[in-house]
Amino acid sequence: MPVNTNSTGSARTLSVPRWIMPMLAGAILLIYPFLVSDYYIDIAFYFGIYALLGLSLNIVLGEVGLFDLGHAGFYAIGAYVTAILNTRYGIPIFVLLPVSGLAAALFAYIVCSPIIHLKGDYLCIVTIGVGEIVRIALINNPFDLTGGPNGVFGIDFPRIGELLVIDSSLEYYFLIWAVVGLSIIGLISLQNSRIGRAWNCIREDGIAASASGIDVRYYKLLAFVLGAGLAGIAGNIYASKLMCVSPESFSFWESCLMFCIVLIGGMGSIPGVLIGAAFISLFPEIFRPFAMYRMLVFGSVMILMMMFRPGGFWPRKRGGVSYRSLMEDSGD
């Protein structure tokens, strides 16, 4: 990433140099919490959680085009693994951060292996089932682990001894956005690799992808495993922030919200996911005064979006492979 003098940017076209937007967003995120009250920091924290969830679903839905409406199930696995292992065995939250990601990934691998060949709406229905099974299983309190409908209480703060204890809104805010930032960097790398291209090829045409040498089954599973892992990590941070988890946080509605995030933003577009997450998490706050009409407005906005911007607010722009030469000889 070239972060050097700003005089080299080509001002010939309307589009600004592409590092300006991320830099600006980063700067705003850095300054923002010092200008507002804790309440608004918390809103930004939940924006971060939804951004992470949106990014995780974007791998499955956006990059590979697999309809996954049970993503809250993976999120729940991450949160409950954190909650149970922390409250029962006192394992530190930071240790559980990767553990919950891996647990959710493993769960995804096991449940998705037999269903990965399903297409479109069939897969969608099965994933709804998976998500609901997870939620209902949590309510049923298997082995007395999940605490039934009440959930699990008393989850610790993330801490490294006494050196670093994350217990304020501000610190949680930086924790989630650090994770989101790292995820974005990793995902951008993936988008520009053979794996990202393989995912897109599968989305575009599975048979052609297979005939071009792409192991469709493997890459679909990889997307699910990776997406679930990220959702599990989001679950970990969410659980420790709330200090308790309960099944109602991982309802079908949550899966729908994640789906909306990806659709609003634009399938496969990382800036799009951030816009979608902002919309989903900030919208209820903005419309708090008109709480009665909130869902009405939400529904109308979704319908209008589908009519006028079916590709999302910020669809992914293609041509990244030879972006430089594109900028030089044709501007667009």
Partner: protein
């Protein structure tokens, strides 16, 4: 017209691909029955026959999209029967489709880069951390793709979405994608369908150039008799799932059985019967 090594070595034993007793059944329909085919290194072999003869089914079995009920496919002396398409392409067989199958919302260059997928190894960790090895590999993928896109004269469209380019260009792009996988056998399903005479001529010259310059063998399904007669070294005729004749183009062209099955009664100048309609 046919003075290329393919014909001369027709009796040799440098067989690249062989099918033995291939049988494919769909429900109650035997699409291909007991079909033998052998393709020699360096030749252009055309598989012809009336619509519904089972040509595309043979292609789909050879490239792993269907699994045959009986029979074997042997490539370079190794059995590849029942392997998955992505394994077949690693072995060295690349294909195109009858109705173009590109990745419409990806750029032309990215489409061709997909062909190199099977020749690259970078895994998840290497891709996330962009290791030097992965970067080298990416440069190589890109280099191969750029060479291939120049070869089919689509360099100007490299950053254009595949769905936006002309039909004829899309056909060439699909061939380029197949070539990017560095195949030994190129399997083309009706490469000239939908092309105008000028484009067809260019395609023929292109394919002949490929055989001349690269270590390649071509198997094609074709309806356009000008193409079949013009570039094939060997022609195999199918009807109702069976092989009814084979030989050098001229011989097959005059074979009464073939004329009856394939050209019907229009033997007088009716050689282009059929190509326009599917």
């Amino acid at each position: 017209m046919i003075d290329r090594p393919g014909k001369a070595t027709r009796n040799g034993n440098d067989i690249l691909l062989e099918t033995q007793g291939l049988t494919k059944i769909f429900g109650g329909l035997t699409a291909v029955s007991d079909f033998d085919l052998d393709i020699h290194k360096g030749e252009i072999l055309s598989l012809i026959g009336p619509n519904g003869a089972g040509k595309t089914t043979v292609f789909n079995v050879v490239t792993g999209i269907y699994r045959p009920e009986r029979g074997d496919v042997v490539f370079k002396g190794r059995m590849i029967t029942g392997k998955k398409p992505h394994q077949i392409i690693v072995a060295g067989i690349a294909r195109t489709f009858q109705n173009i199958r590109l990745f419409p919302d990806m750029t032309c260059l990215e489409n061709i880069m997909a062909g190199q997928h099977c020749r690259a190894k970078a895994g998840l960790a290497a891709s996330v951390f962009r290791t030097p090895k992965m970067r080298r590999e990416e440069r190589r993928i890109r280099q191969v793709a750029e060479d291939r896109i120049r070869q089919v004269d689509l360099w100007a469209f490299r950053d254009e979405l595949a769905k936006n380019i002309a039909y004829g260009s899309q056909k060439m792009l699909e061939i380029a994608r197949a070539l990017a996988s560095e195949p030994e056998l190129l399997v083309l399903d009706e490469p000239s369908s939908g092309l105008n005479p000028k484009e067809t001529e260019d395609l023929m010259a292109f394919l002949q150039g490929l055989i001349r310059e690269e270590d390649l063998t071509i198997l094609l399904i074709e309806h356009d008799m000008n193409v079949v007669m013009g570039i094939s070294d060997w022609v195999v005729v199918m009807d109702e799932g069976k092989k009814i004749a084979q030989g050098p183009p001229v011989e097959v062209y005059n074979n009464p059985e073939v004329i009856e099955a394939y050209l019907g009664k229009e033997e007088e100048g009716g050689e282009d019967a059929g190509p326009a309609s599917h």
